[in-house]
Amino acid sequence: MELFTPEFGLVFWMFIAFGILYFVLAKWAWPPIIKGLENRADLIDKGVAFAEESKRQLDGARAEADKLLAEARQQQAEILREAAKMRNQIVENAKGEAAVEAKKVSDAAIVSIEQARKESEKQLRHEMGEIALQIAEKVLRKNVSTDQAQRELVEQYMKEVKTNN
């Protein structure tokens, strides 16, 4: 049966045809095609790698940004807290100082009042003594007959004292 017993002529021509076909295609056609396919595969691979790298970088940048933002927030909170603390302290300090000042002022006032009081007391005493001496002098100088007359006299002197003051 011809189908199962290969004809020599057909085998011969098939070898020739395949040889020519292979020679022509392998020399002129396949290398540029394969190169094109390889280049395209490379391009796609590179594109994918680039995209992945970009994504990675973007993710990194985002993480960085998030970190910075969180840090900034924390710092902000800290600064605010610090500021509040400082304000309170300043207020406290000011209050303390004011109290001390006020106390100083009042103390000084008290001292001076006391001094003035002592002074006036001293003066009063002194004047009282003088007045008493003057009265006594006058009484001694004038002969006082009646009580009435004495009383008037004293009152007159008292008036004098008052006006003297």
Binding site: M14, L21, L25, P32, G36
Partner: protein, 354 residues
């Protein structure tokens, strides 16, 4: 609308193909005479001198007959002998031994088969197929040369998809770095087989020759693959054949494993050869048988039964032709991928033992 037109064109083409087979099956036989299916089938699956034009069995395109008998080389057109004539002492044999082949009529009247390098129908079809492959692949190549990275359009895109699939998705993943070196051979094999398969399914002129359904054609392809496998095989490949890693008793003194491995060297290409041959021949044969059923039933039960069979046969033929188109692609791909795998297996590097 465009889709409908495409569908109609496809249907017409397939219909024409079926019609061709029908005419082929019918031809030369009186519808009332006894039908000899075997003879008809083998005639149509086999080779011939001269290329018959479809729908007219008697008109043949003459092809050169090249023979070397005991009186030297002879070269003449096949039209000189296809009518049954004898030319320069050569004729087409009617005898049992050399049926349908050119023989030299010797002085004593006996026939002897000369060295026959004739360009038969199959040879011509092979050359046509080679030419078609060159034209198609050159088209893709020109496109790559001119446009590089851009996506191709229309017909080139279709070819490019196939090239890309075979190379990028099949050869490259299997062979890795070696792919560019062996891809030219593998891609050539793929496109050559595919073109021969598809041309074989066509009835209209440049097709119709049952090429890949012929053992000679698949044998040549398998032999080339065999040569590529064994000529490029590494030292490790030969070591694994001649001195495999098996217990000593299996390879010495009786070299049982080496024997099996050497057998394996040959079964691989033989499997390639027979798989492609049987698939393609089977497809053609089924179509022919379906068509012949019409005439067998007509001669047995009359025209009405024959007519009814025609409807059934045609439907199945259309289905078979569509299936064979699919098989054409699959078998071309299978031959290529198996060749790729076998070649890669022959390039095995020594593996490290613990």
């Amino acid at each position: 609308m465009k889709k409908a037109i495409t569908a109609i064109i496809a249907l017409v083409i397939v219909g024409l193909m079926a019609f061709g087979y029908w005419r082929a099956a019918q031809h030369g036989h009186d519808p009332n005479a006894e039908v000899n299916p075997k003879e008809i089938i083998y005639e149509h699956l086999g080779d011939a001198y001269g290329w018959e034009i479809p729908f007219s069995h008697d008109v043949r395109i003459p092809l050169p007959v090249i023979v070397k008998g005991d009186n030297g080389w002879h070269c003449f057109m096949s039209s000189r002998i296809t009518g049954g004539e004898t030319y320069e002492g050569y004729k087409i044999s009617e005898s049992e031994d050399h049926h349908g082949k050119v023989v030299q009529v010797l002085a004593d009247g006996s026939e002897s088969r000369p060295l026959d390098l004739s360009v038969t129908k199959n040879v011509a079809a092979i050359l046509v197929a080679a030419l078609v492959v060159i034209l198609l692949v050159m088209k893709v190549r020109n496109w790559y040369k001119r446009n590089g990275m851009k996506a191709p359009r229309r017909g080139t895109a279709l070819l490019e998809v196939i090239v890309d699939y075979v190379y990028t998705d099949t050869i490259r993943p299997i062979m890795g770095k070696e792919a560019p070196k062996y891809a030219p051979y593998l891609l050539t094999v793929f496109f050559f087989i595919l073109t021969m398969n598809l041309l074989g399914l066509m009835v209209i002129f440049p097709g119709g020759a049952n090429l890949t359904g012929n053992l000679a054609v698949t044998m040549v392809l398998a032999v080339i693959t065999f040569l590529v496998i064994n000529l490029t095989g590494t030292r490790e490949y030969w070591k694994e054949i001649l001195w495999p890693d098996v217990p000593l008793g299996l390879k010495c003194p009786v070299p049982m494993m080496p024997f099996i491995e050497i057998l394996g060297m040959f079964t691989k290409p033989v499997a390639l050869m027979i798989r492609l041959f049987a698939n393609m021949m089977g497809g053609h044969m089924v179509v022919l048988v379906l068509m012949l059923l019409i005439f067998i039933f007509t001669s047995m039960f009359g025209a009405i039964v024959g007519g009814a069979t025609a409807v059934f046969s045609l439907a199945f033929t259309l289905f078979m032709l569509a299936l064979d188109t699919l098989v054409s692609f699959i078998q071309a791909y299978v031959f290529t991928i198996l060749s790729t795998i076998f070649i890669t297996m022959a390039h095995v590097q020594p593996h490290h033992h613990e």
